[in-house]
């Protein structure tokens, strides 16, 4: 009998393993497929038998299904939320000259007199095909405009990720190496400070220091089609730095915790007692088991990089999705707001799903069922 800590009303560890709901819980990967169930009689539906035979495929299918369902739920919430907003495009657009008749005409033009369920369905039908309609304010195709803006946002997020992910993992390992000594403490304090400050504050701070005080950086960070690649890079230096500072701490601390957790495990001691070198222990015995939590936090931060840039883009006057969305909200340009919201949600859900699936793939218990 393995003796583990026993909590609550669970009588023994054996029982604890048996009471685990088998992969029914969508929020977490079951750490241990029920050992007893493998030998027990398996009845039930096709899905249930499938879960027993191919737990990995079943879990991945489940995640995919959940993601699609979630996306639909989000689209409904976005639409409903915008419906519930007070005021509308017509009154904002007409301003002082808003006579009831003029408002009515515009509403009719935009099809706002139709019931909301009908409008939702036609919008969703278009969105599935990649057509988000036309902007009310500019009368341009939303998909076209978003395409360019999204490219700009991803450009920014990509460089922020390129710098922050290796830096975070590297600093995390460094902190493990010097655990509880000066370098570890310095890394911890600085990252904590960075995570505690809101990004607009860090942004303005950087502008004040590097653009105003020393004049070494470009501000505003607006990019144009005519700019060369290097010009673009120098333009986005400050927003990238801001984003890196904001997401770095979280990833770094998680990497540190995950590796420390694994380094104190019995199998690392076994590796040490085999006389293996430090590098081999970390690379072969610790790293594969620390991957899952690190992947999760990286994905969460990548999602934040794409989605959370809204504030940073506004601060730095960067023509990305975030700024586009904020502008659209101020004039109640609904098709644009809806499209931006849905794309942000899709990114968020997709990255989290990818992290989930990667974490499942990293679990040998699921890759190689009994």
């Amino acid at each position: 009998m393995e003796s583990g800590p026993i909590t609550g009303p669970v009588l023994t560890d054996g029982a604890a393993g048996e009471t685990l709901p088998r992969s029914a819980d969508p929020s977490g990967v079951p750490a241990k497929p029920n050992p007893a169930a493998a030998t027990g009689d398996v009845g039930g539906t096709f899905w249930r038998r499938f879960v027993f035979r191919r737990p990995l495929a079943a879990l991945i299918l489940q995640r995919l299904g959940l993601s699609v369902g979630l996306l639909f739920a989000v689209s409904l919430m976005i639409f409903g939320g915008i419906e519930a907003l007070p005021g509308d495009f017509a009154t904002t657009y007409l301003g002082q000259s808003a006579t009831p008749q003029a408002v009515e005409n515009i509403r009719k033009d935009l099809g706002l007199d139709r019931p909301w369920s009908e409008r939702y369905l036609s919008w969703l039908g278009g969105a599935v095909k990649g057509d988000f309609g036309t902007s009310w304010a500019s009368k341009n195709s939303v998909s076209e405009q978003i395409g360019k803006r999204l490219g700009n946002s991803l450009f920014l997020a990509f460089f922020a990720a390129l710098i922050s992910v290796p830096l975070a993992v590297g600093l995390g390992m460094l902190a493990v190496q010097f655990r509880n000594r000066l370098p570890d403490k310095i890394i911890n304090v600085i990252s904590l400070a960075a995570i505690s400050l809101p990004e607009f504050f860090i942004g303005y701070l950087l502008i004040m220091l590097f653009a105003v005080q020393y004049g070494v950086a470009t501000f505003p960070a607006t990019v144009y089609d005519s700019m060369t690649f290097t010009e673009r890079l120098s333009a986005i230096a400050l927003p990238v730095a801001t984003l890196v500072l904001v997401v770095l701490a979280h990833m770094m601390r998680m990497t540190r915790a995950a590796i420390l957790n694994v380094m104190s495990s019995a199998y690392v001691e076994t590796a040490e007692l085999k006389g293996l070198g430090t590098f081999r222990i970390i690379a072969r015995h610790a790293a594969p088991n620390a991957v899952a939590p690190v992947i999760n936090v990286i994905a969460l931060n990548l999602a934040y990089l794409v989605v959370g840039v809204v504030v940073v883009e506004v601060v730095f006057v960067y023509p990305g999705m975030g700024q586009y969305m904020v502008d659209a909200v101020t004039v109640r340009d609904m098709p644009v707001v809806q499209a931006c919201g849905l794309i942000f949600a899709a990114f968020y859900i997709f990255l989290n799903m990818a992290a989930d699936i990667l974490a499942i793939l990293a679990n040998p218990r699921l890759r190689h069922p009994r």
């Binding site: 003796s3 026993i6 009588l11 023994t12 029982a15 076994t270 006389g275 015995h285």
Partner: protein
């Protein structure tokens, strides 16, 4: 013959950081010396905290956590390995000296195949080529009696059983052909019927490969089967050091004598087992995922007596306790308590019904709130069931503390300030506070050292005489059954195998499972293992 390992005047210290106090240096091991010849086995035996694992790891010049070897010498083939630098000691570990941990389940890396882990040290130290190492691993899997040795290495740790993992760990230690292996309680976490196989496999493998071994355990009966010499340790000091024969048959020290005679207590069963307090009728139970744990289990327990439920892990004995308490409602069958059927689920039971059945758990540690004092822990059922408070309550708490032989000076201590045995005593007092008629004891002594466990068993027996409380005692240990039970139920894979008065259940004719279970319990007798294995071979030859 020259000594392979010679430990001289070993001193090991650790720094502890008690909260709110300055760090202090604790001496774990002091003045320990021993010699080990090539191909011999030395047993290190003692209770938890005796320093036996710490000494074992010093043979690899390794200290866990903040443990440091601060004095003495560890000579391996005449060379002091404590003086080696990092790369020097790395060339000893895993090549000349290997280690087998208590929990192989935790000691194997879940991310890699067993075969790769078994041959890793041999390859890394350049002892053999991959082909040679694989061949040796296959040979060792065969010697250790692992199933399908050809493909065993392809499996992952979670795909094989605990007993197989422990054998695989032994194969991993033997693979590089080391001169010395440190076995750190390799069978403690296993069921008795599995333990005997692993023990036999280890003994056979040591003999085959002429490897010397340090065998660490708290079970004198186990070490008597496998070692040439025995060293008894207590509080980090040597109590007695001699040949196995001398230590087992003619111990010189009182402490050793106590260890030898522990677990030999026997109690006569109650002559009249007719009345019934608890009756379990045809109970079936399972979990919500459709996995059925209990199949048609029936038994009963007279008032003021003890029913022992014996079985291995997975036999369903703890599930049965969950059914009795109502934590897991049975799918079929009835629980009748004092002539009345109990509601199946916990929610349906009245306070009074709850009060009459109490529980004691295996891990007293996790069954108590670490932020409550002993006074609060024992006082809680008093106010909950009897509405006691103030002076009356604290009077009663003191009374209960006296009953469990602890006294009122423990009133304001926290669980962390108690020893393992004391914690279990407080848990007993908490159960007793409700004035129950039945206490379910779920392996309350299996996490305790033998001498402490004996004290707990004596206390339970004494309390039964004083208060006429009945016990359902769940255990995997036949010695405990002999010491405490009136009637016995043997369980195996969720079914009742045998039930009746102790004298009947534990005497022939046996069914196959009970026979196997009884024969697997190590006896304090040199040569017991060989004898059992021999009769087994004869039986299988006879078939």
């Amino acid at each position: 013959m020259p000594e392979l390992l010679s430990v001289k005047n070993l001193k090991i210290e650790a720094t502890s950081y008690p909260p709110g106090e300055p760090p202090k240096v604790v001496t774990l091991v002091e003045g320990v010396s021993f010699d080990l010849e090539k191909g011999k086995v030395l047993g290190l035996i003692g209770e938890s905290g005796a320093g036996k694992s710490t000494i074992g790891l010093s043979a690899l010049a390794y200290g866990r956590g903040g443990v440091r070897i601060t004095g003495g010498e560890v000579l391996l083939n005449g060379r002091d390995i404590l003086k080696l630098d990092r790369s020097g000691i790395n060339s000893v570990r895993g090549a000349h000296v290997c280690y087998v941990a208590q929990s192989a389940a935790a000691a194997f890396n879940p991310a890699h195949k067993l075969g790769d882990q078994v041959i890793e040290a041999s390859l890394r130290h350049g002892i053999m080529t991959r082909e040679e190492a694989k061949k040796r691993a296959l040979y060792l899997f065969r010697v250790l009696g692992l199933p399908k040795p050809e493909t065993f290495g392809e499996r992952y740790p979670h795909q094989v059983s605990g007993g197989q993992l422990q054998r695989a760990m032994t194969a991993m230690a033997l693979c590089p052909n080391p001169e010395l292996i440190v076995f750190d309680e390799p069978t403690t976490a296993l069921d008795v019927t599995t333990q005997i196989d692993v023990l036999a496999a280890i003994k056979h493998a040591i003999e085959e490969t002429h490897t010397a071994a340090l065998y660490i355990t708290h079970d004198l009966a186990v070490v008597a089967q496998i070692s040439d010499d025995i060293m008894v340790l207590r509080h980090g000091k040597t109590v007695e050091y001699g040949t196995t024969k001398q230590v087992i048959e003619a111990p010189r020290e009182d402490y050793t004598r106590a260890l030898v005679s522990v677990r030999q207590a026997k109690r006569d069963e109650a002559p009249d087992q007719s009345g019934t307090l608890l009756k379990i009728e045809c109970v079936h139970a399972g979990y919500s995922n459709g996995f059925k744990v209990l199949h048609d289990v029936s038994m009963h327990l007279p008032k003021g007596q003890t029913l022992a439920i014996v079985g291995e892990s997975g036999s369903g004995k703890s599930t049965l306790a969950r059914v009795i308490t109502g934590l897991l409602p049975p799918s079929e069958g009835r629980i009748i308590f004092d002539g009345k059927e109990l509601p199946k689920a916990l929610k349906g039971r009245t306070n009074e019904e709850l009060r009459r059945i109490q529980m004691i758990y295996q891990m007293a540690d996790t069954a108590m709130n670490p932020r409550q004092t002993v006074r609060d822990i024992i006082g809680r059922p008093l106010s909950f069931y009897f509405g006691m408070h103030g002076a009356r309550k604290s009077e009663r708490v003191k009374e209960l503390l006296d009953q469990i032989e602890m006294g009122s000076r423990f009133l304001d201590r926290y669980p962390a300030e108690l020893s393992g045995g004391q914690k279990q005593r407080v848990a007993i007092a908490r159960a007793l506070a409700a004035k129950p008629e039945l206490i379910l004891c779920d392996e309350p002594t299996s996490a305790l050292d033998p001498l402490v466990a004996e004290g707990i068993l004596n206390l339970l027996t004494k309390l039964q005489e004083e208060t006429a409380v009945s016990y359902v005692f769940i255990t995997h240990d036949i010695a405990i059954v002999r010491a405490i039970a009136d009637s016995v139920a043997v369980m195996h894979r969720g079914r009742l195998v045998r039930f009746g008065p102790k004298s009947k259940v534990l005497s022939p004719p046996f069914d196959d499972y009970t026979d196997l279970l009884l024969k697997s319990v190590p006896e304090m007798e040199i040569g017991w293992l060989e004898r059992v294995l021999k009769t087994r071979r004869m039986e299988s030859a006879g078939n």
